[in-house]
């Protein structure tokens, strides 16, 4: 009884509405943005136009977009892995921050290893830092049944202070005017792949895209991904089927941490001269928004990250050319999250579509049954 001609399944309708919902969320949030620009700007029309097209108006602005995009790929990917297993481990923010420190500890070593290997070892160090962070809430939940959301949120505050201590204390380069580590060794730097008007796009972008593809493969094509998604959808079912739920949660956190580690190392060693984050970057929170928008599909994180980077770049341009502050982006971001999180959004039209479809299918069935000379209800009983 595979797909029959003329029938639409409920699943198809639901998928359709998932896409419509994401599009609507973006559209509404942009609309909000336009209204705000309209209210606060002294030249609203040209500002709105700037907001829409700014990143495409010059090569350097486009390059800026790409630079902004690359860290978002990693954090959103990490969130996809965690959310797939329904692990609300929100310490990705802190993990990304800590990974930058642990990898920088290696990256600043001069004459450590030749070119690609120095970066790789720095990445490994970054991964170790991120793994240690993400495992804390996961293990607390598994061992002590602590609420993972609360633990991970609180952990972020602790890590914020820890980072602050490291960069003002033990890891600080005292010969430098700002709070920062020593200079990243040349052998640990990532190559620049596109350099225009001083905006240097580094290899991290490509690494991020490759990681997203790997992440997609991992979630949808491997045993681990199947286990994670099953645990995410119904942990009791997973357990009863023989899947080790604890193992999956721990493994998921480790995989997410690895992406954080690679991401943070790429960002620092690609874009910065020194590791100079005295506060967490906020990329972890951005990652949450993007992965929600992408429905936990790592491939969709690529356009998702591009979207956020795009409006960030627009807002930056606006900030320079008008009286609109960059914070306008936060409005877009929050509205998107609210719209996507609102599960009831479009529930009415979706229900109507499903109802109409169910009726149509029932009629089709009745017709087919009539052709075969039996009533639909009898058919159901015998099925």
């Amino acid at each position: 009884m595979a797909k029959k001609k003329g029938y639409t399944s409920t699943t198809q309708i639901e998928q359709r509405f998932t896409i419509i919902r994401a599009a609507l969320a973006i559209a509404v949030s942009l609309l909000f943005c336009f209204v705000l620009i309209f209210i606060s700007s002294d030249k609203p029309f040209s500002d709105i136009v700037t907001f829409i097209v700014a990143p495409l108006t010059s090569k350097s602005r486009f390059a800026l977009l790409l630079i902004r995009m690359s860290p978002l790929l990693f954090t959103s990917l990490a969130m996809c892995v965690l959310f797939s297993a329904n692990t609300a481990n929100l310490a990705v923010e802190g993990a990304f921050y800590m990974a930058a420190f642990s990898s920088a500890a290696i990256s600043v070593l001069e004459n450590f290893l030749p070119a690609p290997f120095h970066f790789i070892v720095a990445c490994l160090a970054g991964c170790v830092g991120a793994i240690l962070v993400l495992l804390i809430p996961a293990v607390l939940e598994l061992k002590f049944n602590a609420n993972i959301v609360v633990c991970s949120l609180m952990l972020n505050y602790i890590l914020n202070s820890l980072g602050n201590y490291l960069i003002t204390g033990p890891m600080r380069d005292n010969g430098y005017s700002k709070e920062a580590t020593k200079v990243i060794a040349q052998s640990a730097k990532l190559p620049i792949i596109y350099n225009v008007g001083g905006q240097k796009v580094h290899l991290g972008l490509i690494i991020g895209i490759v990681c997203c593809v790997i992440g997609w493969f991992l979630i949808y094509k491997t045993n681990f991904g199947y286990e994670a998604r099953t645990v995410g959808q119904n942990p009791e079912f997973a357990k009863f089927s023989g899947i080790n739920v604890g193992k999956v949660v721990v493994l998921g956190s480790i995989v997410a941490a690895i992406f954080c580690g690679i991401g943070a190392t790429s960002e620092i060693n690609g874009y910065y001269r020194r590791m100079e984050w005295d506060v967490p970057t906020g990329y972890g929170w951005d990652g949450i928004m993007i992965s929600i928008l992408a429905g936990n599909n790592p491939l969709l994180c690529i356009p998702g990250a591009a979207f956020l980077a795009y409006i960030r770049t627009s807002a930056d341009v606006l900030n320079m050319t008008s009286n609109i502050p960059v914070e306008i982006v936060n409005v877009v971001q929050q509205v998107v999250i609210i719209m996507i999180a609102a599960k009831g959004l479009l529930a009415g039209p979706q229900q109507k579509a499903i109802v109409a479809n169910a009726k149509r299918n029932a009629e089709l069935q009745a017709k087919e049954a009539a052709a075969q000379g039996e009533s639909p209800s009898d058919k159901e009983v015998q099925a």
């Binding site: 399944s9 199947y226 009863f240 109802v355 209800s377």
Partner: protein
């Protein structure tokens, strides 16, 4: 004739016309349903599980909005938007699962949602008075200060009924009220209901227990697959007629099966004990064997240790005391994955939680116990082609009605969900199948298929089957031998089922009779040989 009809029509308090309700998974729960309730009657709403009885009443109580149809209450068309509105109109519902707050007192629960107050302070004294007044008025005595958590199920139900009466309802809906009651409590409830009927209340009695319907109802409406298949005065119909209306044909679910070809024991349980988290000994010294090619049925009133027994064998509960071996290997300290690896298949009684994953596809559900094995997976990477092929084969073999292997399980009806579960558990050709209530709450067609497949496992693969069921006819028909559990112990063992009837089992299930220890010990076959 017409006169009488007119008279009766004047007495109609509520009419539901052409109600159609389609759920968000596309399932048509009610289709053009008509229902007419009269003042001062007990109206039976009868149908199999999943026939749409509860949905129809949820529509009436404002829990669900119908896609089509109208409701006429006391001559006026009404749009019932939510339960509060229904209560204001005078329609109240007592749910199957009670909606009471365990830690509050009877009086607190009674007034919940319409609390009396002095200024902004909750007036507890008034709440107690109101409870006492209502209890006295309807002759349903309760202690207003007792805490709900200390009360028996029958008592709680009385509180639920009183709570609805307190709100001044005229129509009282009872959703399967006897499902949770003992026979004595049921009798008591019926006395109360007839009393209420005499006082002019209209009562909707939802049930699939036809004896009870025949005993207490005045008129009935029968539903099947979301459609009305008949209205009748109760004196005009026999139980057999109602059952035909319910299932659409004469109920004949007898399965023809050959004599079993019984081999050596597969599952051996010895001196099993289990103490639950409340310190209650739920299993008290169980010993039995299930042999190759044998279906051993387990009878018993729910809550006599059956759930704990099946959960312990499956590894959901730890093995506390005693031993369980499968083909000689102990399951002590083994996780569910290890037990499954011993070629054990499991159907949990709660299929919506343990049996299937609603938001995943049929494919993903079917593969849950084998995704890690070749050819479905190689070096940790899934082979989707093989998985889809196998799923298609199973869908065909188990006659699952669906849109294809990618269809989400939540879009299937209850019977088809259970077929998906059975397809997974039966297709691994198990040494041992532990099946808990495999046909509970599913339609006749699926029931028949699953029973046949269980017998197939026995005949084709010589599997040992431990079958738990509350349906005694199913047990007697499908099993080769039966044990009866009472209070965590085996109280009877029937090696042959010739002449065994539900009433015979019933006496043991209620603890009235008990076989001799030797007769019971005969279920340990290994001992005999030794």
């Amino acid at each position: 004739m017409t006169n009488v009809e007119n008279n009766l029509n004047n007495d109609v308090i509520l009419k539901m016309e052409n109600i159609t309700k389609i759920y968000s998974n596309g399932f048509i729960a009610n289709k053009d349903v008509n229902l007419e309730l009269r003042r001062g009657e007990i109206h039976g709403l009868v149908g199999e599980n999943g026939a749409g009885k509860t949905t129809l009443m949820k529509v009436l109580f404002g829990h669900e909005r119908p896609e089509e149809g109208r409701i006429i209450f006391e001559g006026k068309e009404v749009q019932i938007t939510d339960p509060t509105h229904a209560l204001e109109l005078g329609i109240g519902m007592v749910h199957q699962h009670f909606m009471l707050v365990d830690t509050l007192s009877v009086a607190d629960n009674m007034v919940l949602g319409a609390e009396p107050s002095k200024g902004i302070v909750y007036d507890k004294k008034r709440a107690i008075e109101m409870t006492e007044e209502t209890a006295a008025k309807y002759n349903l005595p309760v202690d207003p200060n007792a805490l709900i958590k200390d009360l028996s199920v029958g008592y709680r139900q009385r509180v639920e009924i009183l709570k609805v009466l307190l709100r001044g309802v005229k129509v009282l809906i009872l959703d399967e009220p006897t499902a949770v009651l003992t026979p004595q409590e049921t009798e008591e409830l019926f006395v109360q209901l007839i009393n209420l009927k005499k006082q002019g209340f209209t009562i909707v009695f939802i049930s699939h227990k036809l004896q009870e319907v025949k005993q207490i109802c005045d008129r009935i409406t029968v539903l099947r697959l979301g459609r009305v298949t008949g209205h009748a005065n109760i004196e005009d119909v026999e139980i057999a007629d109602i059952s035909r209306m319910m299932v659409g044909r004469d109920v004949d679910l007898e399965i023809e099966k050959d004599k079993p070809n019984i081999g050596k024991p597969v599952l051996k349980v010895r001196d099993l004990e289990h103490i639950d988290k409340y310190g209650v000994k739920t299993i008290d010294g169980l010993s039995f064997d299930v042999r190759e090619g044998e279906i051993l049925g387990v009878a018993g009133v729910e809550g006599n240790g059956q759930s704990e027994l099946s959960d312990t064998i499956c590894g959901l509960l730890p093995l506390q005391h005693g031993s369980i071996t499968i083909d000689g290997q102990s399951i002590a300290d083994k996780g569910i994955d290890k037990i499954r690896a011993m070629n054990v298949s499991m159907m949990h009684e709660d299929r919506t939680i343990y049996g299937a994953s609603r938001n995943q596809s049929i494919e993903e559900n079917v593969m849950a116990d084998r995704y890690f094995n070749a050819p479905y997976s190689k070096r940790g990477i899934l082979n989707h082609k093989e998985i889809t092929e196998k799923t298609k084969e199973l869908i065909k073999d188990f006659v699952v009605k669906c849109d294809g292997p990618e269809a989400l399980v939540k879009t299937l009806s209850g019977g088809n969900v259970q077929k998906v579960v059975a397809a997974r558990e039966f297709s691994s050709t198990p040494r041992l199948l532990v099946a808990s209530h495999p046909t509970r709450g599913i339609d006749v067609g699926a029931t028949d298929l699953i029973r046949r497949k269980i017998v197939d496992l026995r005949d084709k693969y010589n599997s040992a089957v431990l079958l738990f069921s509350a349906d005694l006819n199913e047990l007697i028909n499908v099993s080769d031998s039966i044990i009866v559990m009472y209070d965590g112990q085996i109280v009877a063992y029937f090696p042959e089922l010739e002449g065994v009837t539900p009433s015979v089992l019933g006496e043991y299930m209620l603890g009235v009779k008990r076989m001799s220890d030797e007769e019971i010990a005969a279920v340990m076959h290994e001992k005999e040989e030794a």
